[in-house]
């Protein structure tokens, strides 16, 4: 019957209860949308970076991680050992060796520092999504000697276009400086403007012809799924011999890894702020309910309702607010996310800023079921905390004075 009393008490002041229930539901709805969009944006950004440029993990020589100089190569025998280790792992779907050189690129208009990535075009196409980001030309599919694929942003800054010449200057593993003319054979644009501005692609075989020997500094490794990346990376690490070092995408792109790790904490903080705002709304509502019912609560204490039961009654009433509004807010949030998953949130007016962050201009939220539990827990916790002060006020009532309405 306590439950029945609590339920009916909620509806005593219908408008006030509807307002507080709505505020809780809207708070939850907003919280879920924030979670959905944050996860959608972060996962999309991460997936795009892993797919286009990072891979799930990478192999380097230990020296390269200390100092990415041209001489810090993966030695041929170490590479063979690495390939054998990768082929043994069932979750590895492919790998792509890369030559990584720091150099200068020059056009008629400008000279800039750049990172020159020498790729095995076939492996790179098979293990990355770079081809999907091509704006003009292709990723070394058309047979062309000394072709270079540059980003749209770099092309714009250097005044380059398709088939235009650019001069690449770089140092080899022996410290010898080479200079060679390449012709733009493709223009790409990934979601990450910062990456685009720095990196250009050439074919490994062209570098090899210029230097006279093959150099492998980096091997991009792809997994079947993005889950458990750290564990999978550790499994490969255990199978390769030193000095080859396997690093996960979180280690290779600390800013992405940090964003991924911090997102959970940030979202809990955001939810905490929402709940804090709701907390005061609920306290206000319940305090008014207690003060309005002083006479009745005084009567209950007079006739023998003990403090534990009185406290429980206030607590149950407050919890009921959360238990009614919580599912409504979650349902609305879930429906909104599912609709937005198809439609997306168009932020094309902020396209350039988002590109700097490696994010598309249309953001698609994701349903994150585990956060529904977090939200439910937080709503219950908020209701419990909100009940404390009104319940305390009720317990402090003097029955004689309360019955008189004082």
């Amino acid at each position: 019957m306590i439950l029945k009393v609590a339920w009916r008490n909620i509806w005593r002041s219908r408008i006030r209860s509807i307002i507080v229930l709505s505020s809780i539901a809207i708070g939850i709805w907003a919280g879920l949308l924030i979670i959905g969009f944050s996860f959608g944006m972060n996962n999309e950004r991460t997936a795009a970076a892993i797919g286009a440029t990072l891979g799930h993990s990478q192999a380097h020589s230990a020296d390269f991680l200390q100092d990415p100089s041209p001489s810090a190569v993966i030695a041929p025998e170490a590479y063979e050992n690495l390939v054998a280790a990768l082929e043994e792992q069932p979750f590895v779907t492919g790998y792509a060796p890369r030559t990584m050189l720091q150099g200068m690129v020059a056009s008629a208009k400008q000279t800039r520092a750049s990172r020159i990535i020498g790729v095995n075009a076939e492996s790179e196409r098979a293990n990355t999504t770079i081809t999907t980001y091509m704006q003009e030309g292709d990723f070394f599919e058309t047979r062309v000697r000394k072709g270079v694929v540059i980003s749209e942003k770099l092309a714009e800054k250097m005044g380059l276009g398709m088939k235009k010449k650019m001069v690449l200057t770089f140092q080899d593993h022996n410290g010898i400086i080479h200079k060679a003319t390449f012709r733009v054979s493709g223009i790409y644009r990934t979601l990450n403007a910062a990456w685009d501005e720095l990196n250009i692609y050439v074919q490994q075989k062209d570098i090899e012809r210029i230097i006279g020997t093959p150099l492998i500094h980096e091997v991009l490794i792809s997994y079947d799924k993005s889950e458990d990346t750290e564990e999978k990376t550790a499994a490969i690490s255990a199978a390769v011999v030193t000095p080859t070092v396997i690093t996960s995408w979180k280690q290779n792109s600390p800013e992405l890894g940090f964003a991924d790790d911090m997102m959970g904490i940030m979202l809990v903080l955001v939810l905490g702020i929402i709940m804090l705002a709701l907390l005061f709304g609920i306290i206000n509502n319940m305090l008014m309910a207690v003060l309005e019912r002083r006479r009745e609560l005084g009567m209950l204490m007079a006739v023998g309702m003990n403090k534990r039961k009185l406290f429980s009654m206030i607590l149950i009433e407050t919890l009921m607010l959360g238990l009614v509004a919580g599912p409504i807010g979650m349902l609305l949030g879930d429906l909104s996310i599912r609709v937005m998953m198809n439609v997306g949130l168009d932020l094309s007016t902020k396209k350039d800023g988002l590109a700097e962050l490696g994010v598309q201009s249309t953001i698609y939220p994701e349903v994150v079921p585990e956060y529904y539990l977090v939200m439910a827990f937080m709503v219950i916790l908020t209701a419990l905390v909100a009940a404390l002060f009104p319940a305390y006020k009720a317990l402090k009532l003097n029955p004689v004075r309360a019955i008189r309405g004082n």
């Binding site: 009393v5 009567m299 006739v303």
Partner: protein
Amino acid sequence: MSKAVIEVSGLHKVYEGAVPVRAVNGIDLTITEGEFTALKGPSGCGKTTLLNLLGGLDQPTSGSILIDGTDITGLSDNELIDFRLHNIGFVFQAYNLIPVLSATENVSFIMLLQDRPKEERLARAEQLLKAVGLEGKEDKRPGQLSGGQQQRVAVARALASKPKFVLADEPTANLDSESTAKLLDIMEQLNREENMTFVFATHDDRVISKAKRVVSISDGKVISDTSK
């Protein structure tokens, strides 16, 4: 000889302030089982204070109050709450029913506090509502009942816990003559047939005329005590 239900001796209640008020000033009083007693006196004479002290709602400055042999002045707050629940029935001037509950639920709520089984609660509530003449009104909420009917629900509620006595503070103050007469008839009948002890604080002549014993109070003292 009937058993003493309430035994008060040397009872004082002083409200401290700039000028201390002696609301109860040395009362000795014994009320036995089955009495139908009115505490009468003008406003401010101390009768409601005395009733609150008898009901364990307030603590005396000095003196003792024995309820069925237990000195309630020595009980803690929690013990007093529990004592009231099992020993004392209350009827208030303003009825003080729970507006969101039906008549039956209001009556059975106190039995819920006593942790009595649902079947027993419902059966006793039905029986008591019938006894106070509210058959057919069991599902009505207080807002759907007249003042007199609400006070009868309050009487049924007071009896629901099977108390040793019922304390009623100005129970007829908000009622018209017809409702007052009906309420008093019901309480008189419960007193007569079930030997229930009633103690009223009142200045209503209609109540006083029905009382079998009238204790007059003035300035916190008993000035007369007459039985009919």
